[in-house]
């Protein structure tokens, strides 16, 4: 058997950003592509702006572990306030990050870390990537609700799994396919999205534009470390 490869992703964001949905989409995309994945969300009361975490395990072999990821090698920070205001269940946000781990942060400009944070991140040799996910969502989908799509696209661009095609299929599953049960609160959000987009097809197209944009961004930035580099269009 080939060597067991494992990406352990910890996502942190705030309620309403679609962090949990993003984890379902990435995880489902990996399974669609033939890989192994599992995920678990972590949140308190479902309310906007409250801290949310979600954890995705990706592997080329069976995954047994469950629960939170204490020692991730990938962090996805969906909102700068996770770092700047400490809106997180994990403080500081990089706790447990493995050596040379990747941190993908939704911010158009670098975040000023405290001296201690800066030192510890350097000791960990963390690779920090800033993705203007909210701006991309606003520009390409005309709504910041698609911020999570940019974050999903970037993961596909960086790792090549899930590949862009499987990721697109997973998004389709979420919105028009058999449906993905994430939480009670998402049902209300769904109806809000549906009002904004008269047809789900339009929603899918908008999401796809953001996914593609994010994949292309990672390629342009030279972040991709996939054996088979991603293609921007699914």
């Amino acid at each position: 058997m080939s060597e067991v490869k494992r990406y352990n992703i910890r996502m942190a964001g705030i309620g309403g950003q679609g962090v949990v949905t993003a984890s379902h989409i990435i995880s489902n995309g990996v399974v669609i592509s033939g890989g192994f994945s599992s995920l678990v969300p972590f949140f308190g009361s479902e309310k906007r702006n409250a801290p949310v975490e979600s954890y995705v395990r990706i592997s080329n072999d069976t995954i047994y572990e469950i629960g939170e990821i204490i020692f991730p090698n990938v962090l996805m920070i969906f909102h700068p306030s996770v770092i700047t205001l400490g809106k997180s269940y994990t403080m500081p946000f990089y706790t447990g990050l493995k050596q040379r781990g990747i941190i993908l942060i939704n911010s158009k400009k670098p975040i000023p870390f405290s001296r201690d944070e800066q030192r510890e991140l350097e000791e960990k040799e963390a690779r920090i990537y800033y993705l203007p996910a909210t701006e991309m969502a606003n520009e390409l989908a005309k709504t910041d609700l698609a911020t999570n799509m940019a974050m999903c696209g970037a993961i596909s661009g960086i790792f090549g799994i899930p590949d862009a095609k499987s990721l697109a299929a997973s998004v389709k599953d979420r919105f028009v396919g058999k449906g993905i049960v994430t939480s009670g609160g998402t049902a209300a959000l769904d109806s809000a999205i549906e009002k904004k987009f008269a047809k789900k097809q339009k929603l899918l197209e908008a999401n796809q534009r953001v996914l593609d944009g994010a994949v292309q961004y990672t390629i342009d930035q030279g972040w991709s470390e996939a054996e088979q580099p991603a293609k921007a269009t699914a």
Binding site: H24, S27, N28, V31, S37, S38, L39, V40, P41, F42, G44, Y64, E65, I66, G67, E68, I70, F71, V181, S183, G184
Partner: protein, 410 residues
């Protein structure tokens, strides 16, 4: 007959806002022998959450009535049950006012001879414990899904399975699901075991909330056109209540009510019979689940005994130890009641060290294991590692404990 008032399906298409020719989903299913469902039917892999796995299990369980009161992390499963009701796979469903009411009502439903399902989590279970603890003595087959959640203060909604310890001595059948797959399989097995004439007891399938209910995993499920046989209310250790010919007796059996007219012996023997029935259920679980335990690396000297999510973490620890050339055994305990004493004894008879990782502070599984291995096994039994309050147990923690254990116990 469908859509006829007063029939076993007391819903009409008109009442439900359905087309006149609507046929409830359950009526389109074919009854299949439970053993065939558990072991022979083809299975399709789906990547779904534990709540969705529960839904698919309920879809195939031929449930007559479901009653529940929402509580995180149970709510999603029972929201899914609502869809099953709408589709006609569950015949009756309502949201009760709170848990004492829920568990009292579900008991009444079971006494009337129908298959009854409820579900709850941590504090909800605690609230309804008075009613729950009355179920076994009333000999009411009920299936309860229990999505474990912290019950202690400070308040938390994360998984911690201390609540299972409150069920150990009630006379209820208690299973501990490891993952989404078990949460699909175990309720079906528990229903069939609980309704056997020589069992006639309620059954609880516990699962560690969130880590299973809200997490996705691969689940192999049988075709949805097959369902379990219906409950036969008259095929039971005690007769079902006849609600249509008054006066219906609310009490199960007058002589067992402690009063001036009966002896304490009557009450005592009734309780003894309940616990004997728990033991008699073992043969059914053995058949349905392919054993009360699962054993990995049976020749190992170092063993982990675990139930629920702790098994998953232990599996990964066993795998990583294997990569280092160290063989570690694992006993997964599927049924907590009946407790698989003989199976565990046989599995660890050559063990030198036994580690018992748990997701609760009290270490109830450790106490259970010690109580049956005391004087019958030479292994040193370590009470830990444990996490609680909803915390995850990283695999690294089990590996560290194993390393320390080897140094301490040569």
């Amino acid at each position: 007959m469908a859509n006829v008032k007063g029939s076993s399906v007391c819903r009409t298409a008109v009442d439900e806002g359905k087309p006149a020719d609507w046929v409830p989903g359950g009526e389109k299913q074919t009854v299949v022998d439970p053993m065939k469902m558990f072991h022979e039917l083809p299975r399709e892999m789906q990547f779904i959450t534990g709540s969705e796995a529960a839904r698919e299990s309920m879809r195939r369980a031929n449930i007559d009535i479901a009653i529940a009161y929402p509580i995180t992390p149970q709510s999603e499963s029972m929201q899914q049950a609502g869809y099953l009701y709408d589709e006609g796979y569950i015949k009756e469903y309502y949201r009760a006012e709170e848990e004492i009411g829920t568990f009292s009502a579900i008991s009444g439903a079971s006494r009337a001879g129908v298959r009854a399902l409820t579900a709850t989590s941590g504090p909800g279970l605690m609230r309804g414990m008075e009613a729950v603890s009355s179920w076994p003595g009333a000999r009411t087959p009920i299936i309860m899904l229990n999505m474990c959640r912290v019950i202690n203060t400070p308040l938390a909604i994360q998984p911690d399975n201390i609540e299972m310890s409150f069920l150990l001595n009630t006379g209820i059948l208690l299973l501990h699901a490891e993952n989404q797959q078990d949460f699909y399989d175990y309720p079906l097995a528990a229903i069939m075991a609980s309704e056997q004439v020589d069992v006639t007891l309620p059954a609880v399938v516990s699962v560690d909330g969130f880590f299973c209910t809200h997490a996705r995993g691969p689940v192999r499920i049988t075709p949805e056109e097959y369902k379990l046989p219906p409950r036969d209310g008259w095929r039971s250790a005690v007769p079902a209540m006849d609600n249509e010919n008054p006066p219906a007796r609310i009490s199960r059996d007058a002589p067992i009510q402690k009063s001036n007219f009966i002896s304490y012996h009557m009450h005592a023997s009734w309780q003894q019979e309940v616990f004997a029935a728990v033991e008699r259920s073992a043969k059914y679980f053995d058949k349905y689940l392919g054993g009360l335990v699962e054993v990995i690396n049976p020749d190992a000297e170092d063993f982990i005994i675990a139930s629920g999510c702790a098994v998953s973490q232990a599996r990964e620890a066993v795998r990583q130890e294997g990569e280092q050339g160290r063989i570690v055994g694992l006993v997964k305990v599927k049924t907590i009641r009946p407790f698989p004493t003989t199976s565990i004894l046989n599995a660890v008879k050559n063990a030198k060290r036994i580690l018992i990782p748990e997701f609760n502070q009290a270490g109830w599984l450790h106490k259970e294991v010690c109580s049956v291995l005391y004087g019958r096994c030479n292994a040193v039994i370590k009470d830990g590692p444990r996490v609680f309050g909803g915390m995850t147990m990283p695999t690294e923690m089990i590996l560290e404990w194993l390393e320390e254990f080897r140094k301490e116990t040569k």
